[in-house]
Symmetry: C2
Subunit: 188 residues, 2 copies
């Protein structure tokens, strides 16, 4: 999305049973709003597979990897000059943060589940609040990326997509890019 | 948020077992991003109670009601001159929709679960896509409200809040508004 700048999301504290759907939403938002990939702390092949299926159908590139060493990933990222943003309702306001976050360096965006260790607050270059109210890491990530990419991410072209939505006032139209058109307006 | 204009969210197709956490995120996003209330199609007292607890602690006003007659609610809304937006990846692009949605009429924003009946596409004044990629109704709602309220919703003051976050570069600080300050920077 930003020339050679790479944007990745790091999802912390994922519990496969409890967080399956929320983490899947986080991953799909990362992809749809212009990030290049997602790392998920705990191994979860189900989420990996379901996100890979979306990439296969709707295009990429978008990387997903689960079961990682969080501290090692963060250390490497910082050693290579990458910036780290941690989204938390306790951080500095989004508008202020966006003025300070450099746009010419790779960016890692950390989103936690319920408990985030103190270490993350310390290691982040910016602890950023998307509003100071309790809501959702899915929402925080989407709004952060929408502001960071200035709305351009909604027009991103995905490579290798097999299908494409044709916007409609009413109903649904999806065309196949690898075959003749087979979309229609038939909802359900 | 917008003078006398009322903005409410209608959550369709909620299945208490499966959608508990996603619908809770939808409700908290509705509140945090400036909507006045949420209606949830299926009765779910657990979600009602957990959202009411957030309102009690973090302020309001914000209404929640579950177990409603969707068709009746929609008919009444339209009869009273309210506008209906349905968020769907198959709709018209957000930027285009925002130019057309009137700002001087009450607004109902419909977000569905997996399957949305054709009726909703037909009854909506605007079927709006927040990007044409599969992602999350939580994200779609947040970004829609952020754009609709032009970012001002992140500065909304909530009435009757018992606590308030004081933004920090590192760590957490929460003060009580009903007692002496008892926040600290201690995370975990």
């Amino acid at each position: 999305m930003k020339g050679n700048v790479r944007v990745i999301v790091l999802r912390l504290g994922h519990r496969p049973d409890r967080d399956k759907r929320i983490t899947t939403h986080v991953a799909l938002v990362a992809r749809a709003f212009g990030a290049d990939g997602i790392l998920i702390s705990t191994k979860d092949e189900n989420i990996e597979n379901s996100v890979k299926k979306v990439v296969e159908r709707w295009g990429g590139p978008f990387d997903i990897k689960s079961g990682i060493s969080v501290k090692k990933i963060i250390k490497d990222w910082k050693n290579k000059g990458g910036v780290i943003v941690h989204l938390t309702m306790y951080g500095i306001p989004l508008d202020e943060a966006l003025k300070r976050i450099p746009r010419d360096r790779n960016l890692m965006i950390i989103v936690g589940a319920e408990k985030v260790p103190r270490y993350i607050y310390d290691v982040a270059d910016y602890n950023v609040s998307v509003g100071d109210q309790p809501h959702s890491e899915v929402a925080a990530l989407a709004v952060f990326l929408d502001r960071y990419f200035e709305g351009k991410e909604l027009y991103k072209k995905f490579k290798g997509a097999k299908v494409k939505v044709i916007p409609q006032e009413r109903g649904k139209k999806v065309i196949r890019l690898d075959k003749a058109e087979c979309g229609n307006n038939d909802v359900q």
